[in-house]
């Protein structure tokens, strides 16, 4: 159920993800002559400390220790322990923090991603897990979870990674225990196992004294 829902989301997002991305070509002559591993036939995938990965005919997909993988005509989508993964024809890959592996394209900014995805300003929408931005959204705030700093904006959490020699901001699943002051738009009240939650996209929140806390609902 969870796999199907998230795979569907990934497949839908995949088309948008592949439309535009940033190509940054500041490699050495030696590396260029050998051929790059980030595009063309040499599609790539990465794995976290506890993850695993598979490569299909149409791309590569990665999976967390408790996750699963789905591959369709447009690429592959995998579900890690805490989130979904998207891999495209020119997919890049990154190591997730919680054993899950995330993969995505690189954009200059959130605005550039919106333009590429055809998303109007002010519309809350799901940017694919794994997508990397050169800089975080202008309105983002810092959320600290277990000593790790995440950037948060409009329902989306970003972790910092080193990519291509610079720090990038990568979309990650909502980290469990993160607390935000206000909920993003488009949330709904749900009950799971008799417990009331607020569901915002794939993320569940519970009201706490200082705001809304991310919880993992099985």
């Amino acid at each position: 159920m969870r796999l199907n829902r998230r795979s569907g989301t990934c497949a839908a997002l995949l088309a948008a993800v592949l439309l535009t991305t940033v190509v940054q070509a500041d490699r050495s002559v030696r590396t260029s002559r050998r051929g790059t591993v980030v595009q063309g036939e040499e599609r790539t995938v990465a794995v976290g400390r506890r993850g695993a990965a598979v490569a299909g005919e149409h791309g590569a997909a990665a999976v967390g220790p408790r996750g699963a993988v789905a591959v369709d005509d447009h690429g592959a989508a995998a579900v890690g322990r805490h989130g979904a993964v998207v891999v495209g024809e020119e997919g890049a890959a990154a190591v997730g923090r919680h054993g899950g592996v995330v993969v995505g394209q690189h954009y200059e900014s959130h605005e550039a991603w919106r333009t590429a995805a055809g998303v109007a300003a002010g519309v809350a929408t799901g940017i694919a897990i794994g997508t990397m931005l050169s800089r975080p959204p202008a309105a983002s705030t810092t959320v600290v979870v277990s000593g790790t700093n995440y950037m948060y904006s409009d329902g989306v959490y970003y972790a910092r990674v080193i990519n291509g020699g610079a720090v990038a901001y990568q979309v990650v699943p909502a980290p469990a225990s993160a607390i935000i002051a206000t909920l993003p738009p488009g949330c709904k009240s749900v009950r799971v196992g008799g417990v009331a939650y607020t569901q915002c996209g794939p993320t569940y929140y519970q009201r706490v004294a200082t705001g809304y806390q991310v919880v993992v609902v099985h």
Binding site: V29, T44, V167
Partner: protein, 273 residues
């Protein structure tokens, strides 16, 4: 007895000097074969100069282009200070127009990357030599360092390609330095490299066109502050991670060929890091 005036004597001296200097340099190539031979000679001399230095330092002013899928190019610039001590030490500090402020240190065992702007750091377990480490970070971690061509123990191998077409092009001046320019066309890239006319032969500037990348972006590196007699101490290559900086991951790329050949091995290697 012939009496020569002071002005005439000075004229004779100048003519003699010009003649000596002019004759001591090879004439400019006039055929494609000569241009190819002269280009190869310059590349070898430059490579030999860099190879012979046990340690070296220099500065690079870099300009690069990011290309969006719609073809729009966005330029950005970097300034990179580099210190190398062969065979297993590297330090570099890169600042850029994109707010980049990255220090990278290689101590023979580990590459440590410190981002001062974001107060983060990352580590990569590295091989025992700089050559192997440059290969690892560029191919496995896609840490893009265009200047890496000049850091290998044999820079000539970076540029030598039997399929490459080109050679010596012209004399030129880069930032006030008299240089000689070579240009080559390869399958994936075209590059134009100028090297100092005066000994020792050192890189002045390189321009690389990435022909197989969408939009064919161009990178240009201008070198300065060459020091082939530097004697960096071990402490230069000890990573300094300020207290409070956060450890973050480095994006790692595994070629699909490796996954196909032995997925368990490829994944196991990555997962064990």
């Amino acid at each position: 007895m012939i009496i020569v005036s002071g002005t005439a004597r000075r004229f004779v001296v100048v003519v003699a000097l010009v003649t000596v200097v002019g004759c001591s340099r090879p004439r400019d190539p006039s055929t494609p074969e000569e241009a190819a031979a002269r280009g190869d000679e310059l590349l070898r001399k430059m490579s030999d100069t860099l190879k012979a230095a046990p340690a070296l330092s220099f500065t690079v002013a870099e300009s690069h282009e990011r290309v969006r899928r719609n073809g729009q190019k966005e330029p950005y610039t970097l300034t990179r200070e580099v210190i190398v001590r062969r065979p297993d030490r590297l330090w570099s500090h890169t600042t850029g127009s994109d707010n980049r402020n990255i220090k990278a240190t290689y101590d023979g065992k580990t590459v440590t990357i410190v981002g001062d702007t974001q107060k983060v750091y990352a580590t990569i377990k590295a091989p025992a030599t700089l050559d192997e480490t440059l290969d690892l970070v560029s191919e496995r971690y896609d840490l893009r360092v265009a200047v890496a061509d000049f850091l290998y123990s044999s820079p000539y191998d970076s540029f030598a390609d039997k399929q490459a077409k080109g050679g010596w092009v012209r004399r030129t001046t880069v930032e006030g330095t008299s240089c000689e320019e070579v240009s080559y066309s390869m399958k994936a890239v075209d590059f134009t490299l100028s090297m100092t006319r005066a000994e020792p032969t050192l890189p002045c500037q390189i321009q690389i066109t990435y022909k197989e990348e969408p939009g064919k972006p161009v990178s240009q590196l201008v070198f300065s502050n060459w020091n082939l007699k530097t004697q960096p101490q071990d402490s230069q290559f000890v990573a300094n991670v300020p207290q409070g900086y956060e450890l973050i991951p480095v994006v790692e790329r595994i070629p699909k060929t490796e996954l196909k050949a032995d997925p368990a091995k490829a994944m196991g290697a990555a997962a064990s890091k």
